[in-house]
């Protein structure tokens, strides 16, 4: 490179020639492109004019010239071509001159490149391409920006109406908006996007207001889905990706948010109707549309909850009103509730993607009607009876193992919705005891499976007693083997009757009334023998005999034939009295037996007024009175050789409820103490809510009951009310 000083005029002359050549090229005139030699010359000229020491350093002048050239080019060539043009023509022209401008700037910058390398930085001036951009912005952009924005928006509007538009044109125009921002999106956003969004909003607002009148909910939702898709495509094709979020939000707002209530509440096609008519697809669409909108799903979940609650409540009422035999009715009720649960669980999983809101809505709905059965029995009892029916012999022989497992699984799931879980546990335990003791359990595996499901659902404490019961039965069997050995080795001790004793661990089993029945001597001997055996095993445990749970096989020597009678121990005790007496009055039986009136009436009824009349009663009425007389009915016969004489059980419902209430009082008491011991000082409402929380696994405590226990604890001096603030309590250590 020649390193000589150049005179400004001369140097500029040379450069200017190059510029003119460039302009001719840009105009499309037949002008050859620059050769690299020519380019080097131009570059060098500039270099020579700048890389000098003053006064031969013409950097500033050249910098100014650069700008001048560009401005001149724009005002003389570019801008005029825009004037008078409108709409799409304006856009096209703009893109064209933009391209030209870019080329001009690129080449000029190449020529003047040396300025960029040192002078620009040295003087902290804008770089050459920036200068180029600024010129364009000031001289072209500012004049036409409003018109091009409007024209662009019009095009978009046309596309929305279904016309085909030139997407790449639009994209190029928008590129200009971005470029003019020179690194920031401000121009794009302020000069185009803002109005575009506003226009979009207005457009969809208009559409929505007519669609909402004419269309059904599913139709409207389909349109929404389509619109959203189209807008996303728009972003992909020509809008900037930064617009997507704002655009979608705007569309969603106009279409979905503004009209959410009217849409969901549409009479024949709204959310309720869709649920009623099982329109899973539409509901899925509804979920998809609203899940991205903040709080958009809340009303949907609400309607879902209301719907399920209504269905459930109607179900309960319908079955309550039907006047079938009570046992059947309740079984049907639970089956139907389980069906309902499965149905709507499917909705939650499939349509609503297991979203929390809907899981909770389902739960809340079920909690409402699962606790009001509309019958005398609580839902806890019904559920326990339902399980009992399936698990006992003769209960579900027609069902396959899988079907039984599935039903039991669903039944246990329902337990989560029932408030009185502890009540269920009591009823279940009572029925389990009967199944185990009277050998009425159909299948051991099912029994164990239910217990493990319950354990999973409600925790170990819930099932620990029940598991203990099952273990007791197993142990008793082993024990029995040992007892038989004992009898074999002590033949003198043998009572002469086959005896099986089941030993129950007191804490596990429901509490039974002890009885002081006078047993016949034969049985007394049995008891004594077993006691002797048991004492060889352990001296530490006390045996309490519950004869009411025992069964006895008697041989009834009737005139026609001997029939084996399977009766309860109590019934046996009554019958054996007639071995020594032909005729006994009620009071005589009462004295000899030492029973209660309540029990005795039941016993005698089962033997003399029920299906099998083992005893004949005088007078031969349907009920037992205290003046009746009884005789052994030798004339009795039956085609079977062995009959079971049922003794209807006492209704323990009241007692069970009482027991549970008592347990609850203790539980509440313990919970309050636990909470206060930790917190020391606590406000009333917080104390209540923490107690409810602690007890929630087992039951839903009554607020009044909690209040009562707090008062009790105040009297017992565990707690005191704070003097300053009567709503706060303090723990007294």
């Amino acid at each position: 490179m020649e390193s000589k000083t150049i005179d400004f005029e001369r140097g500029w002359d040379h450069v200017y020639k190059g510029i003119k050549q460039l302009r001719r090229i840009l105009e499309g005139l037949p002008e050859p492109l620059f050769t690299s030699g020519e380019y080097v010359m131009l570059y060098s000229t500039v270099y020579n004019m700048c890389a000098r020491n003053p006064p031969h350093n013409y950097s500033q002048q050249l910098y100014d010239k650069y700008r001048e050239v560009l401005e001149e080019y724009i005002t003389s060539t570019l801008s005029p071509s825009l004037r008078g043009k409108r709409d799409e023509f304006l856009l096209r022209e703009l893109v064209k001159i933009w391209v030209n401008h870019k080329v001009m700037v690129r080449w000029l910058s190449r020529f003047f490149n040396y300025l960029d390398r040192y002078f620009v930085d040295y003087r902290s001036l804008p770089a050459l391409n920036e200068v180029g951009m600024t010129c364009f912005t000031d001289l072209v952009y500012r004049e036409v920006q409003t018109n091009i924005k409007d024209a662009a928006i019009v095009l978009i509007g046309k596309e929305r109406e279904g016309d085909r538009i030139d997407c790449s044109l639009l994209k190029n125009v928008l590129d200009i908006f971005v470029a003019v921002g020179m690194g920031s999106m401000e121009r794009y956003e302020d000069d185009f996007e803002a109005d575009m969004l506003r226009d979009t909003g207005a457009y969809y607002s208009r559409k929505a207001s007519s669609w909402i009148e004419e269309d059904s909910c599913p139709e409207y939702m389909l349109k929404c889905e389509e619109c959203l898709k189209k807008e996303r495509d728009r972003v992909f094709h020509y809008l900037r990706s930064s617009s997507e979020v704002k655009l979608i939000e705007k569309v969603q707002h106009e279409l979905l948010v503004t009209y959410i209530d009217r849409l969901l509440e549409k009479e024949h096609s709204g959310c309720r109707a869709l649920l009623r008519d099982d329109k899973a697809d539409d509901l899925s669409r509804m979920y998809r549309l609203y899940c991205k909108i903040p709080r958009g799903l809340d009303p949907v979940a609400d309607i879902f909850k209301q719907h399920v609650t209504a269905e459930g409540t109607a179900l309960v009422q319908a079955i309550g009103a039907a006047s079938n035999a009570p046992g059947v009715q309740e079984h049907v009720l639970l089956r139907k509730i389980i069906e309902l649960h499965c149905k709507y669980m499917a909705y939650v999983t499939d349509c609503f993607q297991n979203h929390n809101l809907f899981c909770n809505a389902l739960k809340d709905a079920f909690k409402v009607f699962c606790n009001n059965t509309g019958t005398d029995s609580s839902s806890a009892e019904l559920l326990a009876t339902f399980c009992d029916d399936i698990l006992k012999k003769g209960g579900s022989e027609k069902l396959s193992d899988e079907a039984i497992e599935e039903t039991l699984e669903n039944a246990v799931k329902l337990l989560a919705y029932i408030n009185d879980r502890d009540l269920f546990a009591e009823f279940y335990r009572k029925k389990l005891a009967r199944r185990l003791l009277f050998d009425r359990s159909a299948n051991d595996d099912h029994e164990r499976s239910v217990l493990s499901k319950l354990k999973q659902q409600c925790g170990e404490q819930f099932t620990s007693k029940m598991e203990g019961m099952v273990t007791d039965i197993t142990l008793s069997r082993e024990n029995h083997a040992a007892f038989e050995d004992y009898l074999r080795s002590n033949s003198a001790a043998h009572p002469g009757i086959d005896l099986t004793v089941t030993i129950l661990t007191t804490g596990f089993w429901p509490s039974y009334k002890p009885c002081n029945l006078n047993l016949p001597t034969e049985m007394i001997k049995c008891v004594e023998v077993f006691k002797g055996f048991y004492e060889t095993k352990t001296k530490h445990k006390k045996l309490t005999w519950i004869y009411s749970l025992g069964t006895c096989n008697l041989s009834g020597m009737f005139d026609q034939k001997t029939i084996e009678l399977v009766v309860s121990t109590h019934q046996a005790a009554v019958l054996m009295l007639f071995n020594t007496s032909d005729r006994l009055s009620y009071s005589e039986i009462m004295d000899q037996l030492n029973s209660t009136h309540e029990d005795l009436v039941r016993l005698l009824h089962s033997l003399s007024c029920a299906k099998y009349k083992i005893l004949s009663k005088q007078p031969d009425t349907k009920t037992i009175s205290r003046s009746d007389y009884f005789e052994f009915n030798s004339k009795f016969t039956n085609k079977l050789r062995r009959i079971k004489i049922p003794l209807p059980p006492v209704d323990e419902k009241k007692k069970i409820v009482e027991d549970v209430d008592k347990d609850r009082r203790y539980a509440i008491d313990a919970a309050i103490v636990r909470v206060m011991k930790t917190r020391k000082v606590l406000g009333y409402q917080q104390l209540v809510s923490e107690c409810v929380e602690q007890l929630s696994q087992t039951f839903k405590p009554d607020i009044k009951a909690i209040k009562k226990q707090i008062e009790d604890l105040i009297t017992r001096e565990f707690l005191e009310r704070d003097e300053e603030n009567p709503n706060t309590f303090k723990y007294l250590a």
């Binding site: 009333y684 409402q685 607020i703 009044k704 209040k707 009562k708 707090i710 008062e711 105040i714 009297t715 005191e720 009310r721 009567p726 709503n727 706060t728 309590f729």
Partner: protein
């Protein structure tokens, strides 16, 4: 030298060093003289074998004061005396109390009663008196609660003047309800709070979700049912 003080009344200042023939200081003597009158009054009503005023004595006192045995002013007197056992005044209680009242004769005591009433009604004292009234009824050792019948009477006595309508309704309710046979101290203090804080009879600002005793929740429920 300050002028000679009259015999029984004020004691000359700095007189503690002046002693009399029997060795007791003059101030003590003057005190003793004043106490003597109080003591004598005490003896008038006291049961000599017990060494304190017993219910009979109190009855006599009441008669002399022209006040009914069941009058609230006697309760107030007991409060002022800080009497511990219902129906009995010890010598010390009597002495301290009458001294605090600034009286040493029956007529002065009688005149002091209206003042005593005013003193009790002062908000700073009222709650203390109210709580005292309950404690006074705990006659047995380790007794923590008072039976409904007595509570009703006590409510009438203590709150009847200031909160007549509340007391009437509350007493009516207490008599017909079955949940509680006795009332404890916590419930008692809350009766007063109820009267003071809750708008009556509309019960507008009563919130069962707060820590009001259950008996008051039930009372409010009963009242609201009656009113509808």
């Amino acid at each position: 030298m300050p002028p000679r003080a009259s015999k029984r009344k004020s004691v000359p200042p700095n007189s503690s060093t002046v002693t009399s023939s029997d060795g007791r200081s003059v101030s003590n003597k003057a005190k003793t003289k004043g106490m003597e009158k109080i003591d004598r009054l005490f003896n008038t009503y006291a049961n000599s074998s017990l060494g304190m005023i017993d219910p009979e004595g109190i009855e006599a006192l009441c008669a002399d004061l022209g006040v009914d045995y069941t009058d609230v002013r006697i309760l107030m007197l007991a409060w002022k005396l800080k009497s511990e056992k219902q129906g009995y005044f010890t010598r010390e209680e009597w002495q301290t109390g009458l001294k605090a009242l600034g009286v040493d004769s029956l007529s002065k005591l009688k005149k002091a009663l209206p003042e005593l009433e005013k003193e009790v009604e002062k908000p700073s004292n009222y709650e203390d008196f109210y709580t005292y009234a309950f404690r006074y009824c705990l006659t047995e050792e380790k007794q923590k609660s008072v039976d409904i019948e007595s509570i009703c009477e006590l409510l009438n006595l203590v709150l009847g003047v200031q909160f007549r309508p509340q007391v009437d309704s509350l007493v009516e309710y207490l008599k017909i309800q079955n949940d509680y046979k006795v009332i404890n101290a916590d419930q008692w203090i809350n009766f007063l709070r109820f009267c003071k804080e809750i708008s009556f009879p509309d019960l507008r600002n009563y919130d069962a979700n707060q820590a009001w005793p259950l008996i008051l929740d039930n009372f409010v429920e009963w009242m609201r049912e009656k009113q509808s």
